[in-house]
Symmetry: C2
Subunit: 193 residues, 2 copies
Amino acid sequence: MSNAIDTRTALLAEAETLVRTLGYAAFSYGDLSERVGIRKASIHHHFSTKEVLGNALIENYLERFRAQLAELSASGGAATKQLRAYGDFFSGSLAEGQMPLCGALAADAAYLPPSMQKRVKAFFELHVDWLETVLRNGAANGEITLFAPPKRSALLLLSTLQGASVVAWALKDPSVIKPVFRQLLDSISRNDA
Amino acid sequence: MSNAIDTRTALLAEAETLVRTLGYAAFSYGDLSERVGIRKASIHHHFSTKEVLGNALIENYLERFRAQLAELSASGGAATKQLRAYGDFFSGSLAEGQMPLCGALAADAAYLPPSMQKRVKAFFELHVDWLETVLRNGAANGEITLFAPPKRSALLLLSTLQGASVVAWALKDPSVIKPVFRQLLDSISRNDA
DNA sequence: TTGACGCTACCTACCAGTAGGTAGGGCGTC
DNA sequence: GACGCCCTACCTACTGGTAGGTAGCGTCAA
């Protein structure tokens, strides 16, 4: 096992927690070097610029999320169960004191380099697509009856989870997210199962 | 009319648009001085530190919002009409290319000085309280029937608007916010009017 | 003539990023 | 098996630039 891969992984992990607690603009190579235990300049060996690091961060996060969503889909559970599990991703990370990565990034979006903006956008599109598919399937097999087009309902679900994270973060009360999302799930469709 | 008040007002206005487009961490006294047309150092005459400016910003915003909400309440319109107007605040400002101020601030919350965190929190509490009152009144006078406790429904409405702003911002598509909120309004209650 | 207001000039701290060097592992060649 | 060579990984020392903030002077209106 190469030392370099360990360092790279550690850098990504620490950078992610920094972004998700302080925001992208507010963390520095200096902070990062202290936490990982190498010098500031050495970070440039692994990530030539902060933009490169930022993009690696999103890509890594997106890949993990994609895997989790695929796993969820593959489990073949009921749509409502999958959606509940999806919501738990958000409430879980927030309970650990971390904002969702792309929620944290989206707020500073105008300040981010275009390459990162594109990836943040792609991240949200992945989520909307996944949600839409789950909703559409649930409706198709008669499990649920949607009160609105799947795409719009998907946007609603994503928006509420992102927003609940922000509100919970500001109120310093992570417990708000779960009942709010639960209520929304009950509201957007009738469960016919 | 004093010149100083004009300058102060201009500083607040420009600072607000900067925060709402770039974020708090990403805007500087340098940016601000260019836009207002006085030197960087002169800003300190009006706002001794950035933290003082930040707090004035929130207070100013909160006061304007409080007035608008009070006006809305006083108009005595139906609950659903008031809520729709409330939603228009968000979609309106987003269409002008601005994030909601406290949404933008909340994302960087951990980086903000405690005095600002407190005010952001107070801002959200004001909104939840207003929404809760409107919902409760609407339910009391038989106009709507809520499917959940008013407080939880209020949190849901606020979360969704904040989140839809973030998502719309990241997707660079301000049009998502309106149909999403419209659908949510239809979902959380039955309109008996 | 005092005080509000804005200025120039400056400070310290920190930022991302660069220059250039060192320690040591892998590897082919003689 | 020792030599030369390139590589990765990290270092110290530094750059230009920018951040927020300070000191003190000029000006002009009340």
